[in-house]
Symmetry: C2
Subunit: 443 residues, 2 copies
């Protein structure tokens, strides 16, 4: 396409942006401030030709020619000069429509929309293939960390055995504050909102949905087919207490909201939940709004990628790295070198997710128990009957709401057995509150 | 090239390997064991057509058709079916000759040869451009960690302000053992040799040369032009003592062999030396044979990449990721999408390295001083005359070889002033041994 233009025009690749919020303005800022190095690296200019947003009057802190702005997304898609459409509005229906329309018009697409890719990826990946365009989505996972590219290319020689990600900066910030300052959950959430690290309310961040969206994308690249997002087990951080964080510390662990995937051969173990991580594991040092992805491949061994997982600038960096990637291809007259999920012939039709009931892992329990004889025996008896063996116990005389905390770490046990045991304990009059259960990882 | 072949042949990309040592056999092992997923991801097979090595009789622990083996490297280069030549013999002269010859014949080249790229990269990068072939060298830095790809692509939207790398696994293992077990340097080296983590003697690993080679490659990608390797200041770890590691710990630091680069605008601060790293910095947790690269970009912010920096399997993973990268291009009929140093039009002709005498950084000093009145005053006086101000002092009554250690941390000072001050102290009879000087980083 570009190759046929006159030399002056051909020196510039035209981009249209749909969505001029945080990430959109970050993207424009990168393109403006680093225009010189981008031109040096690509060989051609990358120029923003149109920006669509419902709000075209607010000040985004960057100077922009008002003629570029439109309230009509379809104007961006219809512009024949625009070769790459960047979708940054988020949400599902409109974003999907815009992306599919752009692809039908032969335009390459860059998106940061993890929810859309996790829930409707199949349709979009197929549209890219059908229309012979490239789809790039580095910004959808891990903010500025080039983890999508690393999975698609850097680790492409490996069978990826496992992924362990801290993929949501908001919940990691909340857990970090709870850990470092002993704050209760609600107080840490308030702080996160004050600092602009969380929306109010931060539902999709703290309930595991956002991290699960990102995990679904990573798993899809590993196997080359979209995973069914709703099969990924999700559990949030809102029930965690400073007491659990303190007990975890005494046992040599910290608490992280982990996104976990393990290749089981015929299925994949995929889940997002709070987990105990050993303090000497490198993931235990990922604090605040930072994200990290720890992966193990059969040849590369353990690999960690760490950086800011959100925000205008890091996400802008990821979007523009995708624009550079596509611009380099366009300059060579290429439509697609790597398919969206980095597999030309995926081996499977679909990725089966193992039900969480089948999980085998060690567990942490905190029982709120009356401080009377026979309690430990009763509880450990029920665990034993369910094939759950205990590896350590902390029992302290501390009185919390008329009862004492009884903390146990188990050896590896089956989740369905844990569910049975805890339900058998329901209604025991020696237990004064719901039992806290946290899975233990990487130990 | 491939596109013109009949469909049966076209389904396989033929590779020739020169050098069948550790990395060569790791590469073949990846191609054999992961043949299925590589084919799924590339769409075509990657087949080893010839392997050249002076030793074609030793058992490498993998089964290989003996007909593939030859002692003549030129046989690999001359084979018209081979589209990618993998150079894994290391060293300079022969490796360079083979690479240049292969490029002249229109073959793409993959190499793991950091010494060659760091010292003679210009000639090789230019040959790739002139012959319109691709050059890939992921395995030259950080073993299996895809840091070359991350710099060339993932962070391509950024001005990279700084790089801080633990790039040599051997010296990191030695320092880790000295730290964790209090071993003296020579004892830790012996252990590293026993475990196969070091050659005997491990000169280029412990004197900083290997890390400087890798740093030179990373800097060259950042600016798009080769840096002059000999201008990079290098200092090894052999003079470090368990006492210094212990004092560092008391001051809140650990000791790492760091490869450091900072963009100063008109020049680059580039150096490899032992450095004190704050214990709460994520780089302080990089232990054993692991490597890590910490980079700061103007938009992405801090990024860390971590993994195994050497060894048959991780390095094989990196080489094969390059083969996949090239195979995906070849399948599309493309010769080169990204130039070797990832810049089509580099801004500068050369990268100037700032002389280390100009460095401004805090310093650690350990003086071996006689335990008598006036010593502290004399030493701090000389430092003060040279504009060096002290931020903390540890003086203990411990008698080491008839003298006591006097440890100081300074505020930021200029290296030339430090050199002056230490030379003015030479011959002071209150100092009983050479003064230990270690630079402090990231504080």
């Amino acid at each position: 396409m570009a190759g046929k233009k006159s030399s002056k025009q051909a020196n510039s690749i035209k981009v249209g942006i749909i969505g001029f919020g945080t990430v959109g303005s970050g993207t424009v800022e990168v393109l403006q401030k680093n225009r010189d190095i981008i031109r040096d690296r690509v060989g051609w200019e990358i120029t923003v030709k149109k920006i669509a947003d419902l709000d075209i009057s607010s000040d985004r802190g960057i100077s922009i020619d008002p003629d570029l702005l439109t309230t009509e997304a379809m104007e961006v898609i219809a512009d024949p000069e625009i070769q790459i459409v960047v979708e940054l509005i988020g949400g599902i229906d409109k974003a999907k429509e815009y992306i599919l329309r752009a692809m039908e018009k032969g335009k390459h697409v860059v998106t940061a929309n993890k929810a859309l890719l996790a829930e409707h990826g199949k349709e979009i990946y197929e549209a890219a293939e059908k229309n012979e365009v490239s789809l790039a989505f580095e910004a959808s996972v891990g903010g500025g960390i080039p983890v999508v590219r690393s999975l698609r290319e850097g680790l492409s020689a490996n069978r990826i055995h496992s992924i362990m990600g801290i993929l949501n900066g908001t919940s990691n910030y909340i857990l970090t504050r709870m850990t470092q300052k002993g704050l209760p959950y609600t107080k840490a959430v308030e702080e996160a909102i004050e600092h602009g690290y969380a929306e109010d309310p931060p539902t999709l961040d703290v309930d595991g949905t956002d991290a699960a969206h990102k995990l679904a994308i990573l798993i899809s690249i590993v196997f080359g087919v979209p995973v069914t997002f709703k099969d990924i087990y999700r559990e949030g951080i809102d029930r965690l207490t400073p007491e659990d964080i303190q007990f975890a510390g005494e046992l040599g662990y910290c608490l992280k909201l982990l996104a976990i995937a393990r290749d089981l051969g015929d299925a994949v173990d995929a889940r997002v939940h709070p987990a105990m991580v050993p303090l000497n594991h490198i993931m235990a040092n990922v604090n605040g709004v930072y994200n990290a992805i720890y992966m193990e491949g059969d040849f590369v061994g353990p690999n960690l990628y760490y950086g800011l997982g959100a925000g205008r600038k890091p996400t802008g960096s990821a979007v523009v790295s995708d624009l550079i990637y596509l611009a380099r291809q366009i300059r060579q007259g290429i439509k697609q070198v790597i398919p969206p999920l980095a597999h030309v012939h995926p081996r499977r039709d679909k990725v089966l997710v193992q039900p969480v009931q089948e999980l085998m892992t060690p567990y942490y329990f905190r029982f709120s128990a009356l401080d009377r004889p026979g309690v430990l025996s009763k509880i450990s008896g029920i665990l034993g009957e369910n094939g759950i063996s205990i590896s350590s116990v902390i029992q302290k005389g501390r009185d919390l709401n008329g009862s004492v905390p009884l903390v146990m770490l188990t050896h590896e046990a089956k989740e369905s057995n844990v569910i049975n045991a805890l339900s058998q304990m329901n209604g025991l009059e020696i237990l004064t509150d719901k039992t806290m259960m946290i899975r233990v990882e990487a130990s």
